[in-house]
Symmetry: D2
């Protein structure tokens, strides 16, 4: 399989600048165990509860991206993502957790693991300290990484892994289109601010730094999931 | 006609603390001319273009309210409002302006009148400096005022005013439900932070100040509309 | 007299992009009356009270610039400016107003004129929506404009104008050094983000827009001062 | 020794709500080794480099508190703290690190440990999402904890510990006065927003949660220091 860049040359550039970290993230032991089905159910549920709290703050981060939008495309894409997260993606977690006997209010008030808190607050702070691009570089590893992992697992996963629902979600058309739309928008947003040769801008290195840091924080998130409670 | 408080005792309290200003705002000459149809078309279009720019920043403000949410109800209401504004209400303006020969890109880049800029930036700064309630007190005059004006004009307007579309929008079920939902949420948000007797909290007076300032800024907005370009 | 650019080529570029507005701002009727002494005392005091409130929010804006700093120079310059404003410049206003019978608590809680509120909230919102450069472009007209006006009046003012203290403050070494330091920092900040030919960056035009808008808002502030209460 | 509450009944209340965590934080193994001198030099230097980066973001957080101030006392205290941190406290780190051959630019660009990043971004996000009190509850464990630890070590430390400079800094008059001033301001800030019986406010529990989370993050910071690179 060729690794897709979701049509975004900016994402392709950021990813190649974070090559080692990206590999550790997308081929993490947690991912492998999702695929072969060996991940303990308790680890998966721990991850899912934490991921619900993550999505709350991830939604806040995308809402901050709306605040920082400078074009109609940016505003519509970011607003649509907030709506999708709050009113749809979070509901998947709610449903699976409900089936496991965990109600939504419990999810909403779950104690955040450090690794969880570290990542989401890094993203919102990127928005407070920088501009729209700083946020995108910090959000990108999550958005595209899950799309890439979903695609890879779709091809390699054991047919009987109990985590096929998860794999279907992120390899599915709907999520893959999110990746493509966000990728197109990021390319346009970068061009609108840094021009046609963004790698030549002094900001490029800083954006790669943000992407790398966020990738490190994603690895920490998997570590936390694997460790369980 | 009895003036509705959209089921929100908090709004009722804020409104009564701003009585004179509220009257000047909701019975403004601009409103009267919308109702009897005497408002010059050029004033209306000028207002509409400015209101489009207003809605961009109003959407940014509601997005900041998502960032500042502390409950599921707050997050869902604010996120739904952003989506409604960006993907629906702004489209009404786009359509009317298009019929008048003004394309959306022209709207998006229209030069903001001072009175416009003053109001929206006051709201976003309220979010930066204060908490969720500070934002609600600054947003409330717009949300509820338009609902109240729409209702009043629906009863009193001349049948042949060319502005019946505008009146129908704000007196219509959809917008009135927005008011009711936001009103319910505000009452809950206030109770969650200030308790059951919010008027006794030291913060009550400050929130009334914010509501009054925002009401003054709404009056300025009508003045600007009336003045035309 | 040659108009100084305080050693900042970025400021020189922004100013020339806002030529007409800049002239209206720095040669405003309010400025002329400060120089020839014809400005009514009541207008000056009204201006001073509003300017005190302005400085509170201007300090908040420079504090937000600390939050958004990305180098030691930016952090130290912005932090030093906050300290200078809060603990020194505002005290000048306090002293003059005290001599006129207005105590500091009255200043702190004075009702803001629209024109005042519009400018300062535009600046803080620039910080929320953009990056460090967006803030600098919005702050620059105030910082450098007062330095330029102070210098011009120092040469042209009537010897017996009652506003010589004001003129001395802004033409004095201390304030002029603030301008030079901020100018140097802005040039470095722009180079660190946009490279050595910032005018070629797609962001240059947006920064010029911010500078122009802030210059318009400065003109509004003088209008407000001249109008009195 | 009686544990001081620096004259702040609010701090005393928050601390008692976080009793176990507070004990783990102030009597951490890292603290014990500072006192008896057994802490490896490499651990101390690692801690110091991370603490320098911490102070950059801690300064940003106090600057955000200036942005969120609602009284002269809050503004002056927060602005003075930013100035003290940026222009003084950080210089102590610079000097000690310089003696160990680490230059300031290296400090400024050191890679942040997760535990470091987690704490500071949690604080700035508390400012973005909440109000001035939310920030104070998140900043308090650092401000007062170091004052308390400094006092305790001053009494118990081995005379020949190589870390007496560190102990003198935080037990010294200057730092202790910072604690007293911040404590007084926090009590006033809480009274101004929650009234005279703040424990009865619905917000009290949320502020205690923030204090507890920040205390957990302080424990993580010591763990990181002890672990070394």
């Amino acid at each position: 399989m060729t690794t897709s860049d979701f049509g975004s040359s900016v994402f392709a550039g950021w990813r190649s600048s974070a090559a080692d970290g990206w590999n550790d993230y997308t081929n993490h032991e947690f991912v492998r165990q999702l695929g072969d089905g060996s991940l303990p159910r308790s680890s998966f549920l721990h991850y899912l509860v934490q991921d619900y709290v993550f999505l709350i703050h991830f939604s806040r981060a995308w809402a901050l991206a709306v605040v920082k939008s400078e074009s109609l495309e940016e505003m519509k894409t970011a607003a649509g993502t907030v709506d999708g997260l709050v009113n749809h993606e979070m509901q998947l977690h709610v449903q699976i957790c409900k089936d496991a006997g965990i109600i939504e209010e419990a999810l909403y008030s779950a104690e955040e693991a450090f690794e969880n808190l570290a990542y989401t607050r890094y993203v919102t702070d990127a928005g407070l300290s920088g501009d729209f691009l700083d946020m995108m570089a910090a959000l990108a590893p999550c958005v595209f990484g899950y799309g890439e992992i979903g695609n890879a697992l779709k091809q390699s996963a054991a047919k009987d892994t109990p985590y096929m629902d998860w794999i279907d979600t992120y390899s599915g058309t709907e999520y893959q289109e999110v990746c493509t739309n966000v990728g197109r928008m990021i390319d346009n947003s970068v061009a609108a601010r840094l021009g046609d040769a963004p790698e030549m801008s002094p900001r490029w290195g800083k954006l790669c730094d943000r992407f790398r840091t966020a990738t490190r924080l994603e690895i920490g998130f998997w570590d936390m999931g694997l460790r369980g409670e």
